[in-house]
């Protein structure tokens, strides 16, 4: 088991190198001179432009730029943004906020999704099941920014029962509505995955055996049906944590949450390679770690799976 984890962690090194190189290359290839853009339509003295290019290594060839960036990372120096602040400071500020938001969203979607999914699966074809089917279809069909703006307008502006924006105070209470909005789409998926899985498993032989043994209905559902139904759900939720962190940009924009999305968007539009690459790389690492966690959970859920 420990060896398996070490191996997986080692595999992350080439992925990390590949990801940074690819992203650095993409930012590099974005047309337009970022230094000229700093000046807008105002003039920029050529000497000043040259100084700035040199300061951010933009005057060097692509590979040199990339290697300098890598060298910096090895010494935990992620470079500086155009505003002169270290990127590491920006990472330390933005990631906790978005991580908190994403974890809240994942918690909400899993708890409610699995709960209602089990309920619907056990009552396959009944009114409750069909109602949830329609509800989840609606949630999947409506784009997230519509949900976000509606929640903000009605809960925040019109009725005043929830904060309109989050701003600097990213507390649990203020992040709750954005987390519900962010988790809503995945809630629908978790619901349907659980529901299908449970509906399939509830007629399985081992469930009949368990019932025949005289186990309580409750024990049959939670231990025998649910545990075996969770594998696809766990796969989805694990991958979703990474997806939500990267995809929170819309929700963060609507609720003015100062997280990864906003910082990344600004860095992309300004064409700051160090900032973009650092943010995306951390996202990639989180994604990889979440996947590792999912694989380990498989073993916990299904005794047939063993890692050596």
């Amino acid at each position: 088991m420990a060896w398996y984890i070490v191996r997986r962690l080692l595999q992350m090194i080439p992925v990390f190198l590949g990801a940074t190189l690819l992203i650095y290359g993409m930012v590099f290839l974005v047309p337009g001179d970022p230094i000229q853009a700093l000046a807008g339509s105002k003039p920029l003295t050529p000497a000043v432009a040259d100084q700035l290019r040199a300061r951010y290594n933009l005057d060097k060839p692509f590979l040199v730029q990339y290697l300098l960036y890598l060298k910096g990372i090895l010494t935990l120096d992620f470079g500086t943004s155009f505003s002169g602040r270290p990127v590491s400071e920006e990472l330390a500020r933005a990631f906790p906020v978005t991580l908190k938001l994403a974890i809240m969203a994942v918690a909400i979607e899993s708890v409610f999704g699995i709960f209602f999914g089990v309920f619907a699966g056990l009552r396959k074809g009944k009114l409750f099941d069909s109602t949830l089917l329609v509800v989840s279809l609606i949630i999947i069909a409506v784009p997230i920014f519509v949900v976000g703006f509606l929640a903000q307008f009605f809960l925040g502006v019109k009725w005043g029962i929830a904060p309109v924006t989050v701003g600097g105070d990213a507390s649990f209470g203020r992040l709750l509505v954005p987390a519900i909005v962010l988790g809503s789409l995945s809630f629908a998926y978790v619901l349907r995955l659980t529901r299908n899985s449970v509906a399939e498993n509830k007629d399985a032989d081992y469930v009949r055996t368990a019932t025949a043994k005289g186990l309580s209905r409750r024990r049959v559902v939670t231990v025998h049906i649910l545990r075996n139904s969770l594998i696809p759900v766990v796969t989805f939720v694990g991958a979703d944590l990474g997806a939500l962190m990267g995809g929170a940009i819309v929700t963060e924009g609507i609720f003015n949450i100062n997280g990864v999305g906003g910082a990344l968007y600004q860095a992309v539009t300004r064409g700051e390679p160090p900032t973009v690459v650092s943010f995306v790389t951390v996202l990639v690492v989180i994604f990889l770690l979440a996947n590792l966690l999912v694989d380990l959970l498989y073993a916990a859920l299904d005794p047939r799976i063993r890692y050596v």
Binding site: A39, S41, P43, A47, E89, Q152, V164, D169, G173
Partner: protein, 536 residues
């Protein structure tokens, strides 16, 4: 089982509602701040006046520093730190400053504070974005090259603690008008020790200073409080300002409606149609010194000489500015009447030849036919624009207007980002007409004309070269009084209206709003709040 599930579901719903309720409570505590909350954005550079060239940082820098002059809400200049600014030829200035002013660290503001700050801003090795504003000062050419040939500009001389002289390379009345612009602010001694640290926690002499404690929370907000030592003509009338940074104006607008934000200087496009209804008398509108033009590169095929002149006039007359402003901007744009902006001192909306900017389909067709007689038209008329700035709708409307009037193929050419389109414009490789604009740095008509149309200006994007215009504009710059300069500027503009190096389309009207907590809010000439007079 059923009962358990229902109970649990109910409990879950209860928890959720309680959570939202809890969140609701916590939101109230935030809005009771005594500071007036205004929208802003994270400054893109450290708060050093010579390095701040965008209005996220600019709106803060202007609060923290006081210059020789300041501009009131209408854009009229007044002396702030200047006791007197004397010149006989608009080229050599003797500037006396008021004594007894101090920076917030207690050190006095002297003539040297100004001269050193300007020299710092101009020196190439300091890589200050606003370095170009010192271009006119003698000796700038020596300090603005790398490596610099001199460390200071020869045109600046400190006479005594309160007097210094400035020598320019050519007469410019605009130099004096521009002395309230941020790069001309003074800096304290302390700044030069560590400019980076200074930019994070500036020490100024303006109407405000940083609030105690964590004044600047990066990407979140920045708080300033009145500076009790400020002695100038625009003292703070509120207990402080809190610049709240938003990622989108839509979000800021939601906060404004919920009274969490006290002043928003830009109503988002999505609310332009409804904001007057939503806000009632809390909606604020005022013309602002910002223009949109369509530039036509001098070397574009069919747009040179007599033929080009006819075609440019035809295109200008083919654009129904009035209708586009109504349909797309809900009246928040003014049809351009000249190359400056109606909010500027000395503006004249009835210049000779300005009828070329009014919609006249018949006249447009006639002019186009005349041009065709010289050389028949072929191909497409394309207008390049950046699609990250909300320009698509109006550019399409403009091309449709041209297409319908002149019967030619006119299309918008979208570039994904602003920097991409700028690259091709400055590299002269764009090969089509392009959207561009100008936002006044300080309230002066000359500041719209000099950088954009003077032959030797580095930002003359359309390569307009007219000795006649240059002569008239230089005469306006050399004028003795503002009034004299206004008349000469008008003459220079009449040359532009005849040659149309660019086609003016709109002036901006800023649309803003205030919360119910605010008792006085006004928009200034630049489309931002008149921050000092906001009260609640």
């Amino acid at each position: 089982m059923l009962r358990i599930t229902r109970t649990t579901a109910f409990a879950a719903a209860l928890v959720l509602t309680a959570g939202i309720g809890l969140a609701g409570c916590s939101s109230d505590s935030g809005s009771k701040s005594k500071y007036v909350t205004v929208n802003g954005s994270e400054p893109q550079n450290p708060l050093v006046p010579t390095n701040t060239n965008e209005n996220g940082g600019g709106r803060v820098v202007d609060r923290l520093f006081a210059g020789l002059k300041y501009y009131d809400a209408k854009g009229d200049p007044h002396d702030e730190m200047a006791e007197s600014i004397e010149t006989t030829d608009s080229q050599n200035y003797t500037i006396k400053i008021k004594p007894d002013w101090t920076f917030t660290d207690g050190t006095p503001v002297t003539a040297k504070s100004f001269v050193d700050a300007w020299n710092y801003g101009a020196l190439a090795t300091n890589a200050q974005l606003q370095s170009y504003v010192f271009t006119l000062i003698q000796g700038y050419d020596d300090v603005s090259v790398a490596p610099p040939k001199a460390q200071t500009m020869s045109g600046l001389k400190v006479i005594d603690d309160t007097t210094f002289t400035v020598a320019l390379t050519q007469p410019s009345i605009d130099f004096e008008l521009g002395l309230g612009y941020a790069p001309f602010y003074p800096l304290p001694e302390a700044a030069y020790k560590d400019m980076k640290a200074f930019g994070n926690n500036p020490i100024g002499n303006g109407p405000y200073k940083f609030a105690e404690g964590n004044a600047w929370e990066h990407n979140v907000k920045l708080d300033v409080v009145p500076n009790p030592d400020y002695k100038g003509g625009r003292p703070a009338k509120n207990e402080g300002l809190s610049f709240v940074f938003y990622q989108s104006f839509d979000t800021a607008y939601a906060d404004l409606q919920a009274d969490n934000l006290d002043f928003l200087d830009t109503i988002p496009d999505s609310a332009l149609a409804t904001f007057k209804q939503d806000l009632g008398d809390r909606a604020i509108e005022a013309p602002t010194a910002q223009d949109q033009w369509i530039g036509i590169p001098a070397n574009l095929a069919h747009f040179a000489g007599e033929e080009g002149n006819l075609r440019k006039q035809a295109i200008s007359k083919a654009i129904n500015r009035e209708q586009i402003s109504q349909n797309i901007f809900h009246g928040t744009r003014l049809s351009a009447k000249d190359f400056t902006s109606s909010s500027l001192p000395g503006y004249n909306g009835n210049l000779l030849g300005s009828e070329v900017l009014t919609y006249d389909p018949e006249g447009a067709k006639k002019l186009w036919a005349q041009a065709d007689a010289i050389s028949p038209w072929s191909g497409q008329f394309q207008i390049a624009y950046n699609s990250d700035g909300g320009h698509q709708a109006w550019i399409e409307a403009v091309t449709n207007s041209i297409k319908n009037t002149l019967g030619i193929e006119a299309v918008g050419a979208a570039y994904p980002t602003f920097k991409q389109v700028r690259d091709e414009i400055t590299g002269r490789t764009i090969g089509k007409a392009f959207r561009y604009g100008w936002q006044g740095d300080y309230p002066s008509m000359l500041q719209f004309l000099t950088p954009n149309f003077l032959s030797n200006s580095p930002t003359n994007d359309v390569d307009y070269k007219s000795p006649e215009f240059d002569a008239k504009l230089n005469a306006a710059l050399a004028a003795k009084t503002p009034e004299e300069s206004y008349g000469l500027t008008a003459q220079a503009q009449e040359v532009l209206l005849r040659d149309l190096p660019a086609i003016p389309i709109f002036d901006y009207i800023a649309s803003a709003g205030r919360s119910t907590n605010v008792t006085h809010a006004e928009l200034a000439w630049n489309g931002l709040a008149d921050f000092e007079t906001l009260t609640k």
